[in-house]
């Protein structure tokens, strides 16, 4: 069964393609946007900008530290640089440059980390960004966004571009089915979207795990458990109000992410929950391992990042809530 099928979601194309189109769109809308590439434009799909706006596209080669520095310099000239590469390469090679030249300088630069998570699959753990959100979390001024479907990708690329300040946007290679419809969806930095109502427990996810959460909610509903589902697309700032409300109204929370549990989004949700209204919680994410090369969907199963896994801990936390 394909992802999102249980929840009745319409399939889509790979998120990198959606990103590439969204980036081209903001380049058309805003002449101040420039794009910097670490020689991966055919993988990150910034190649559309390269072809359409060659003057505003710079391939800096396989040299991420310099890539970030040059981008920061362009921001210093009033441009809005989108600094793009694989999440793993960009963050792990150029963390110091992102820290000083972007975050500490608090400049108006946007960073795309593509191929986040494990679902790039067969290229293996060297290419996977399983620690990117934790690393970005270590930079106090950095806004962090994770789209969960094509509509949110498009909206968040625009929101990131319009936002004044440093933004990290995490993307993935795989297709994510349509969760939202184009016209009646809102994505505000600092807010979360409740995309399914329910009062028995809440599943809070980001990225691909939002689809998984919706599938899991359908499975749980068949058993008479009504799960609320929250799309936490804005990791920083995080919507404390929606999280606190979910804790109070549903009494149990599951967090799901395609990222290391250590330093992951779930730990921040837990902190907010502990401070506002402590309830039983469970966490779906990666344990302290590097995963392997394989088909993305086999990896999701092997490392317990599926709708079944979410449903399973949801039953646990629901039972814990009832005591």
């Amino acid at each position: 069964m394909r992802l999102g099928e249980k929840a009745g979601l319409k399939p889509s194309k790979p998120m990198r393609d959606v990103f590439g189109e969204a980036l081209l769109e903001v380049c058309k809308q805003n002449p101040r946007v420039v794009v910097l590439d670490g020689d991966l434009s055919n993988s990150t799909k910034t190649e559309h900008v390269r072809h359409n706006f060659p003057d505003r596209f710079f391939n800096l080669g396989i040299a991420e530290s310099n890539l970030v520095g040059v981008g920061a310099g362009l921001a210093g000239c009033g441009f809005i640089p989108w600094i793009t590469s694989f999440s793993s390469f960009l963050l792990c090679n150029a963390y110091d440059q992102i820290r000083l030249a972007v975050a500490m300088s608090n400049i108006n630069a946007k960073i795309l980390g593509s191929h986040g998570g494990i679902t790039l699959g067969k290229d293996g753990p060297t290419q996977m960004g399983i620690e990117d959100l934790a690393l970005m979390g270590g930079l106090p001024t950095m806004t962090i966004l994770v789209p969960s479907d094509p509509v949110s990708m498009k909206a968040l690329v625009k929101a990131a571009t319009d936002h004044d300040g440093p933004v990290f946007l995490r993307s993935s290679r795989v297709p994510m089915p349509y969760i939202y419809s184009e016209n009646d969806s809102k994505f505000e930095i600092g807010k979360a979207n409740v995309i399914r109502e329910g009062n028995d427990l809440t599943i809070i996810g980001n990225g691909l795990m939002v689809t998984m959460a919706l599938d899991a909610a359908v499975m749980l509903a068949e058993e008479g458990i009504e799960a609320r589902v929250v799309d936490l697309f804005s990791i920083r700032p995080m919507d404390k109000e929606t999280i606190g409300k979910a804790a109070r109204e549903t009494g149990a929370i599951v967090c799901a992410e395609e990222h290391l549990l250590q330093g992951g989004v779930g730990s921040n949700v837990a902190r907010i929950t502990a401070e506002t209204y402590p309830v039983p919680m469970r966490f779906v994410g990666l344990p302290d391992v590097y995963v392997e090369s394989a088909d993305p969907y086999e990896l999701l199963e092997k490392y317990h990042l599926t709708a079944d896994d979410i449903a399973s801990v949801a039953r646990e936390v629901f039972a814990a809530k009832k005591g």
Partner: protein, 280 residues
């Protein structure tokens, strides 16, 4: 405010400014009880030439003027020098200098972009400034502006890979409005560069990366000015000026002891240094 080339250059006056900057650096770091006076003193003539010798186009009352020439202090530990120069150039009142490294002060131990007027870049983790300079060059082209960008590099930071990434990219983009000045004082934190991590043949390395390279006595303001004026004529490639300097220049007992890196002078040493600088 300096209008490029309109000022008749008086070298004696520039040497007088250099002396004042050295005294400011001494007072700042001694009062703070920490900092990098020796690394700052080594670059004094270079910045004096740039800011007060009619090279840099800037408006101290309009620090972010779009057409300004850029100066990026890549060797961020020479922050005291940068702060003293900007005060001298009229960017802000010099009283703020005495708050270096004090709580609730904008005068940070290493430069933070925009925290002080005229501070273009956050530096202090070494190796980053040249990339930023290249970004400002690419921005100038897109904006249709003709300004130049000057980046002061430390010698030790040329051990960092990012410097060579930026060197390669600057040549690739034919960044002939980008000038790097390398303060070659031959010492890094733990000792002589030749002993810790050999950089030579330095000029050949840069030339092989596609740069035009000049060498100069980094304490001879006249000679520095001539090189800076000369490289403005170079087309099609970025330029590097290797400035041979003395770490701690101006204070004999600091010149003689590289362990002064990252160490302020105590009040007694400062008194001796002050006398020496005033008599120079």
């Amino acid at each position: 405010m300096i209008d490029k080339m309109n000022t008749a250059i008086d070298i004696n006056k520039l040497n007088e400014i250099a002396k004042e900057l050295r005294l400011d650096i001494l007072e700042m770091t001694t009062k703070a009880g920490s900092g990098h006076p020796s690394s700052s003193w080594s670059s004094v003539e270079i910045l004096t030439a740039l800011y007060f010798g009619g090279i840099l186009n800037y408006r101290s009352d309009e620090p972010w003027w779009e057409e300004r020439d850029r100066f990026i202090m890549s060797k961020g530990h020479a922050a005291p020098l940068l702060y003293a120069v900007l005060a001298h150039a009229g960017y802000y009142d010099r009283e703020v200098l005495w708050r270096l490294r004090q709580i609730n002060s904008p005068v940070q131990g290493h430069p933070i972009q925009g925290m002080m007027p005229g501070v273009e870049a956050t530096t202090g983790s070494l190796g980053q400034g040249l990339s930023l300079g290249l970004g400002h060059i690419l921005g100038a082209r897109l904006n249709g502006l003709d300004y130049r960008v000057y980046v002061l590099l430390g010698d030790g930071e040329c051990e960092a890979g990012q410097i060579w990434e930026a060197a390669m990219a600057a040549a690739h983009f034919k960044a002939d409005h980008l000038t790097a000045i390398l303060d070659y004082n031959k010492y890094q934190e733990t000792g002589p560069i030749s002993r810790e991590m050999a950089l030579e043949p330095l000029a050949e390395k840069w030339r092989s990366f596609g740069w035009h390279v000049e060498e100069v006595d980094g304490h001879d303001i006249q000679a520095i000015l001539e090189k800076l004026q000369f490289i403005e004529q170079i087309n099609g490639c970025p330029s590097l000026i290797i400035a041979h300097t003395i770490k701690g220049k101006g204070v004999s007992f600091v010149e003689a002891d590289f362990t002064f890196h990252g160490r302020a002078l105590n009040p007694e040493q400062a008194e001796n240094a002050r006398e020496e600088l005033l008599c120079a």
